[in-house]
């Protein structure tokens, strides 16, 4: 799988409270959640984001609450993938379980750069800067979940 998109750049410790504040957790409708994605960190994000754009962040992305509403909001907002130096562990598994592509990679990428992610070969290419970084592929077990389109699909034989 390959993805190409424009970068939205954020720092370390982007927590799930700023990704989707608890005041919006009285719903789990994907579009309603997407309408408030990253609202407490970047209030103009939802106006600016386009289908296939890519979030690039620092360490411990998705820290805090276990709310799956956070990766759901990001995915439903149109974001194609999240690249971070490291992910908080519950966010990491939630993203895999719901089929939001994530990449753990320490790359120097700037806001608004065009980047391309080659998941099969573990390459992250910054088209704007013409620079490439390698990243480690997921373990086989996680690749099976991703290939099936999420955890429930992988255990239900594609029904979910």
């Amino acid at each position: 799988m390959k993805l190409k998109g424009t970068v939205f750049k954020y720092g370390d410790n982007v927590d799930t409270d700023v990704i989707i504040p608890a005041r919006y957790l009285n719903t789990h409708n994907h579009q309603e959640l997407a309408a408030h994605c990253l609202e407490d960190l970047d209030s103009s994000f939802v106006q600016r984001v386009k289908q296939g754009d890519i979030i690039v962040a620092g360490s411990n992305f998705g820290s805090g609450s276990s709310r799956e509403h956070a990766p759901i909001a990001i995915k439903a907002s149109g974001v194609g993938a999240v690249v971070a130096k490291s992910f908080a562990r519950i966010f990491y598994r939630n993203a895999i379980n719901i089929g939001l592509p994530i990449v753990e990679c320490d790359a120097e990428i700037n806001e608004a750069d065009q980047i391309e992610i080659d998941f099969d070969n573990g390459k992250l290419h910054d088209i704007t800067k013409n620079q490439t970084w390698d990243f480690a592929p997921f373990p086989d077990f996680l690749q099976q979940i991703i290939a099936a389109g999420g955890l429930l699909k992988s255990i239900s034989g594609g029904k979910a």
Partner: protein, 417 residues
């Protein structure tokens, strides 16, 4: 190579003699937990996958604690979805208003977790039960759905950091101070993906209530779980609250730890985490004057009877500072009742506090104490992120029940004396 306590429990739950850090396992779940925010998403996934019954109606538990008693129509609709599902599935341990408490205070109290268990919960503070020598960790709603259907969860076996505790905490210094001290030391991602294994002669001096608080905060250092060895205090607690037999797992003497951190408990002092990260730990030797608007004493971190006793002792016969709103939230109905019988509720009300029914409420900025722009709150809760308790320009300072009570009286952040 020997195994850590966490690795021992994981091996026992996937039918293996031994497991290694980094290995991915499918483990059997003793208890799968959901709350009123995370369960609706899990139910949808469960039903989409064509599942029609839960794997074991005794091993799935739902606690409606975040937005209950329901704060608005939408949260009422979400709770109703769970109520209907729980009835339809015959979920035995379904706790609604009147029976419920804050999930991580309630489950140990109900005896639903014992030493040696493997517990997952669609709530990040599920790591609390490590205090009882169980492996427990927070997961997402889809994981909960999969566990509801199959009784299993995928887990990556964690490497470990060992905290070797010696000595004893000084008066007015509690588990919360130790937790904030440790997070200040290693950072909010200092234990990312790892288990925090507490050990050493100092463990026996820490109460179960404080162990629950410390294990609860493991997630705030990024950890997969925090775990305490099982001792007589643990066995007494488990026996008092339930009928299931505990399984005692001990770390091997040659278990591998990525790092060992020595902590002399007698050197830990009263600690406050400043906005907007739990790692911003400060002590009273270098603290500026911080005037406050609100105090919250409660939550899964510090809403137990011992916490209320500590706060009441400080407030007895005194009045909270003018213009400070003080909200006390006993974590469960049982705690509420015991606090009432002990006269703690009278103490709080006479001091000028309000006392609420159990709810997570203000901790996550849900309801029951939301902050306006520019307001400051001292809270015994677990997170002080931007906007956590309300407006993005409000501030939350994390502290023990003792510091919170002392601050309520002083109208500014103050140590217990």
């Amino acid at each position: 190579m020997g195994m850590t306590m966490t690795q021992k429990i994981l091996a026992a739950h996937c039918g293996k003699q031994s497991v290694n850090a980094g290995e991915i396992i499918m483990a059997d779940v003793d208890l799968a937990l959901g709350n009123d925010i995370t369960t609706p998403v899990a139910i949808n996934e469960f039903e989409k996958a064509g599942c029609t019954k839960v794997f074991d109606k005794n091993k799935v538990t739902f606690v409606l604690d975040h937005f209950t008693p329901n704060k608005d129509i939408k949260s009422a609709e979400q709770s109703k979805q769970i109520r209907d599902f729980a009835r339809q599935m015959g979920v035995v341990n379904f706790f609604d208003v009147g029976e419920m408490g804050i999930e991580h205070a309630l489950l140990p109290e109900k005896g639903l977790v014992v030493s040696g268990d493997l517990v997952i919960g669609a709530d990040s503070h599920t790591c609390t039960y490590g205090a009882l020598g169980a492996f427990s960790t927070g997961v997402g709603s889809t994981d909960l759905a999969a566990a509801m259907a199959t009784g299993k969860v995928w887990l990556k076996v964690p490497a470990a950091i060992r905290f070797n505790l010696t000595g004893q905490l000084a008066p007015h210094v509690y588990g919360k101070d130790l937790a904030l001290h440790i997070i200040g030391l290693i950072g909010v991602d200092g234990a990312l993906y790892k288990s925090m294994e507490f050990s050493g002669e100092g463990v026996s001096t820490i109460s179960i209530s404080d162990r629950l608080c410390i294990a609860n905060m493991a997630i705030e250092a990024g950890a997969k779980n925090g775990i305490f060895p099982v001792d007589q205090q643990t066995l007494d607690f488990v026996k008092e609250h339930g009928s299931r037999q505990p399984v005692v797992c001990q770390a091997d003497p040659d278990a591998e730890y990525e790092r060992v951190i020595e902590i002399d408990l007698s050197q830990v002092v009263q600690t406050v985490a400043f906005p907007h990260l739990p790692e911003n730990a400060r002590t009273f030797t270098d603290m500026p004057e911080i005037k406050i608007d609100q105090v919250v004493i409660g939550s899964c971190t510090n809403g137990r009877l011992e916490d209320l006793q500590i706060a009441a002792e400080i407030m007895k016969g005194k009045k909270v500072a003018k213009d400070v709103r003080v909200i006390i939230i006993p974590a469960t109905q049982k705690i509420y009742l015991e606090a009432m019988e002990m006269g703690l509720i009278r103490t709080f009300i006479e001091a000028g506090c309000v006392v609420s029914t159990p709810t997570c409420g203000p901790c996550l900025g849900g309801h029951m104490g939301i902050l306006a722009k520019g307001e400051r709150c001292v809270a015994t809760t677990n997170r002080n992120f931007v906007g956590r308790m309300g407006h993005t320009q409000s501030e939350v300072y994390l502290a023990s029940p003792a510091v919170a009570a002392a601050s309520a009286l002083a109208g500014k952040i103050a140590p217990a004396v």
